[in-house]
């Protein structure tokens, strides 16, 4: 395998994207109509891509497994979206957003990609406002901003605690406009089960209709995956129940590289786990950290009610350890600090797995009304789940799996190593390095969909006139056969345990051995355990019913089967990366005071994995990260 070429345009950082746009081959309007593009996923990245490409004149087939494109999990993002608008005149700029993002990612992302992201972030806000997204406003009518973790400026735009919902509905409305125009054919309740590669180009997908069970073939000139992340490998995460890695995993098995699978993000502010019946974890927006103060009792095992613990017996550990950023320290640091204090036995709530997030000071300073205005729905949600009122009693929070920075490898064009396969949003690995900053996921999803792919797609398509294959091709037939065979083999196991049972086991394993803290030992144990678990799954899983109609148990089992393979790759990746960086914290590589120790000399590269078949281990391909414009420093939020 030749070295990976990220196709980064030459020139100064600020000029790269502009020069790229000026030199990229264009497709004339009359020709765009002749191209058919498949978009899998209808979240922020997928819907914005489908709508924009259709608006440009391409014919788009968009697939989502939900009953409506509006249900994609982007809808649950609460806090906001970053943009370097500098409306607050607090010194923000493209460069600062770029630098914050690359530093937040612990210098494990590409300079050129991140700079482009910071650059187009401004257009995203313009675009969304023109779609009618009701962003929060100040009394004078200007757009309001809030601050967010990992930044010292207020650059986050928001719509109450429902920013993701409003942005997605904006993209969804544009998508619907194009469906109405006939330029997008929307396929709902449709799950992609395989990628079809024709002459080493991605040219189609195999889809199962989740209602009728029908398996269909779809050919296109290019395939775009915008299918989100794989946090659900951990079973309990803040992702929706349906979020899965099946599309990217099948693409990986057809030859696409999987980059940095061990870079997973633990979100510091989630509602703590209640019991083993629990199906998912609920996130409380990180924006809460703007006004909430995180603390635990100084004494171990302090069972007093929070209001009875006097000020001097509280440890505001984030403010103590990181005076400059305090409660706004980046996610990985906040999460690990929470774990540390809980490991010391100072955690609060059932099982000691929680820390307080206290709004008392903010309520005194700003008044209850302001807090209600800012976080009302989050407080309601918290009360609904826990039965506790956070206006009078501090919230209990604990870290939970939230986002995966890793994903399919893509170049500057967002194209994977398989020509014709583009990967957007959380599904790719590109912009967040080893750790994502808050309010950057929405930014990346929309940047990719609205402003990057519409340009970069042309570079590929300009050489693809008339190359769309027929679905009667052998490659399609074989792919369909594979899909059918896999579904049948799942149905034929006829064991006695539900797939959830195995999923939960995998989740616990990954959380303990490849979670907030990893070590060579824990990872080796996991690499030993996962194949055994996978084997048990394939012998004991029970899936009642058939594949010929709606069968949720079959859908879930197929996804769990993929997670059982992906989980192993995550551990393999984590084991190979012998350093601590961002969300990847190896206990062997830490400083005396417990901070992550990065190793730029040996590990400043993207770790990409290539599938080599069921029986062989995947091979590792490195893409070196060359820092031309910034100097990787040790992250310091103190």
């Amino acid at each position: 395998m030749t070295a990976l070429d990220a196709k980064i345009p030459p020139g100064p950082l600020e000029e790269k994207w502009r020069r790229f746009k000026e030199n990229v081959p264009l497709i004339g309007p009359a020709n765009k109509r002749k191209f058919n593009i498949i978009v899998v996923g209808s979240g922020l990245a997928g819907a914005s891509t489908a709508a924009t490409l259709a608006e440009q004149g391409y014919h788009v087939d968009c697939f989502c497994f939900h009953d409506s494109p509006r249900r994609a999990h982007s809808i649950a993002a609460q806090g906001g979206i970053n943009a370097s608008k500098n409306y607050q005149n607090d010194g923000d700029s493209i460069w600062r957003l770029f630098y914050d993002t690359i530093k937040g990612g612990d210098f494990r992302s590409r300079e050129a990609n991140v700079y482009r992201l910071a650059e187009v972030s401004q257009s995203i806000i313009d675009q969304c406002v023109s779609q009618g997204v009701p962003f929060a406003r100040e009394y004078g009518g200007q757009l309001a901003n809030r601050s967010f973790g990992g930044a010292q400026v207020s650059r986050t735009f928001y719509a109450r605690g429902q920013t993701g919902q409003q942005l997605l509905l904006g993209a969804y409305s544009s998508l619907n406009h194009e469906i109405k125009n006939g330029r997008v054919t929307m396929h709902t309740n449709s799950e992609m089960l395989d990628l079809v590669v024709v002459e080493s180009h991605a040219k189609g997908i195999i889809v199962r209709n989740l209602i009728s069970g029908e398996i269909t073939r779809h050919a296109a000139d290019a395939v775009i995956l915008a299918t989100g992340g794989y946090s659900n490998a951990y079973y309990l995460s803040t992702n929706a129940r349906g979020c899965n890695a099946t599309a990217v995993w099948r693409a990986y098995k057809r030859g696409a590289l999987f980059a940095n699978p061990c870079f997973t993000q633990i979100h510091p502010t989630c509602i703590p786990v209640g019991g083993d019946y629990q199906a998912k974890l609920t996130l409380m927006s990180e924006s809460l950290r703007n006004d909430g103060r995180v603390w635990v009792p100084k004494k171990k095992g302090d069972q007093r009610a929070p209001q009875n613990i006097p000020e001097e017996e509280r440890d505001y550990y984030l403010e103590r350890k990181y005076p400059a950023y305090g409660n706004l320290a980046p996610r990985d640091i906040s999460s690990r600090s929470a774990k540390e204090v809980c490991d010391e036995g100072r955690g609060v709530g059932p099982g000691g797995l929680g820390v307080y997030l206290d709004f008392q000071d903010a309520i005194e300073r700003l008044g209850k009304e302001t807090i209600q205005e800012r976080y009302g729905n989050l407080f309601e949600m918290y009360e609904n789940i826990t039965g506790e009122n956070a206006y009078t009693r501090p919230m209990r929070i604990f870290p939970a799996l939230h986002y995966t920075m890793g994903g399919l490898w893509v170049d500057y064009h967002l194209m994977s190593n398989l020509p014709g396969l583009f990967v957007l949003g959380e599904a790719n690995f590109s912009d967040h390095g080893a750790n994502r900053l808050g309010a950057s996921a929405l930014m990346q999803g929309l940047a990719d969909g609205y402003f990057v792919i519409p340009y970069t797609l042309g570079a590929y398509l300009s050489s693809q006139f008339g190359k769309k294959p027929k679905t009667t091709l052998l490659e399609f037939e074989e792919a369909e056969k594979r899909v059918r065979a896999r579904l049948n083999s799942l149905l034929e196991v006829k064991g006695s345990l539900s797939s959830t049972h195995f999923h939960r086991e995998l989740g616990i394993l990954l959380w303990e051995k490849c979670g907030m803290e990893r070590s060579a030992r824990s990872l080796q144990e996991a690499l030993h355990e996962i194949p055994k678990l996978r084997k048990r799954f394939w012998n004991e899983v029970s899936i009642p019913g058939s594949g010929a109609s709606l069968n949720k148990a079959l859908e879930a089992a197929g996804r769990v089967a993929d997670f059982l393979e992906l989980g192993e790759l995550m551990c393999r990746d984590a084991l190979m990366r012998e350093e601590s960086c961002g969300g990847h914290f190896r206990s062997e590589y830490q400083s005396a005071d417990g901070e992550a120790v990065r190793n730029d000399e040996l590990f400043s590269f993207v770790q990409s994995w290539q599938y080599q078949g069921e029986e062989s281990e995947p091979t590792l391909i490195q893409e070196p990260l060359n820092y031309e414009f910034v100097h990787p420093s040790t992250r310091n939020y103190k």
Binding site: P29, I179, G182, T185, M186, H187, T188, N209, I211, S212
Partner: protein
């Protein structure tokens, strides 16, 4: 390749009666263009508006009719004079009558049309029924409306066409006018008639209890703050009508009139 649950471009055409459709105007730009004349009278909201507007007119009639009838408390002369004056209006009276008939007809016709559609839209009912904040008045609109309709027919038959007691036609007062007063006193002396009237005007009040507040919503005149006020005011007006109308047969029956 049949995909039963997906949006296809047929989605556009599958709505045949769309009044406005997207059409290519020039090149790549799409706009809404009217392709068919707008059908206000077949739309959900248009017909609701008609029900609301006719409702207002009928309420107007109910109010004027009440004012006229309350003249009974001023004695037989005034009441009979009022009735005589009304009849002297001649052609105007007939215009009002026909207008009222048309208004009532439209009110009933569109209500039935909407009701039929509503019925078709929810053919299967829930096994567990919950009223979910809907008021009894709202839920009994059809019943109260039908009772009121039946009552109005009886009322007309009794006092306008005088089919129930034909002798009423012969009753003339000392001024040679039709003796409406005596007719009412005679009719409401009967406990059954009085009871039926009281019950009917109670149904009318129930109908208006939802109807008055509701018409402001239908006409789009409410907002979050105003709606409860309109509803409250509607309730008061409706039961004020009840008191007004109920006072007549009650006063007659209990022999509380001035004479």
């Amino acid at each position: 390749m049949k995909m039963p649950f997906q949006f296809t471009r047929r989605g556009i055409g599958s709505a045949p009666k769309l009044s406005y459709q997207l059409r290519v105007v020039a090149g790549n730009s799409f706009r809404f263009l009217p392709v068919q004349k707008l059908s206000f009278l077949t739309s959900s909201i248009g017909r609701k508006w008609i029900v609301a507007i006719t409702g207002i007119l009928l309420i107007g009639f109910v109010a004027i009719h009440l004012l006229g009838n309350l003249s009974i408390f001023l004695g037989p002369e005034i009441m009979n004079a009022y009735a005589a004056r009304l009849h002297q209006l001649g052609i105007l009276l007939w215009i009002a009558r026909v207008g009222l008939l048309v208004v009532a007809g439209l009110h009933v016709f569109f209500t039935i049309a909407l009701w039929r559609e509503n019925h078709q839209a929810s053919p299967q009912k829930y096994a567990v029924k919950k009223s979910l904040e809907t008021t009894l008045y709202a839920r009994s609109m059809r019943l109260s409306g039908l009772v009121v309709l039946g009552f109005v027919l009886f009322h007309l038959a009794q006092f306008t066409w005088k089919w129930v007691t034909p002798e009423y036609k012969e009753w003339i007062d000392s001024l040679g006018q039709h003796d409406v007063y005596r007719m009412l006193v005679a009719a409401f002396g009967n406990p059954w008639v009085t009871g039926f009237y009281l019950l009917s005007v109670a149904f009318l009040a129930m109908h208006l209890s939802h109807g008055i507040g509701s018409l402001f919503q239908t006409l789009g005149l409410t907002n979050k703050k105003l709606r409860p006020r309109f509803e409250y005011a509607g309730l008061i007006v409706a039961w004020a009508f009840f008191l007004g109308y109920a006072s007549i047969p009650t006063a007659v029956f209990l022999k509380l009139l001035p004479h």
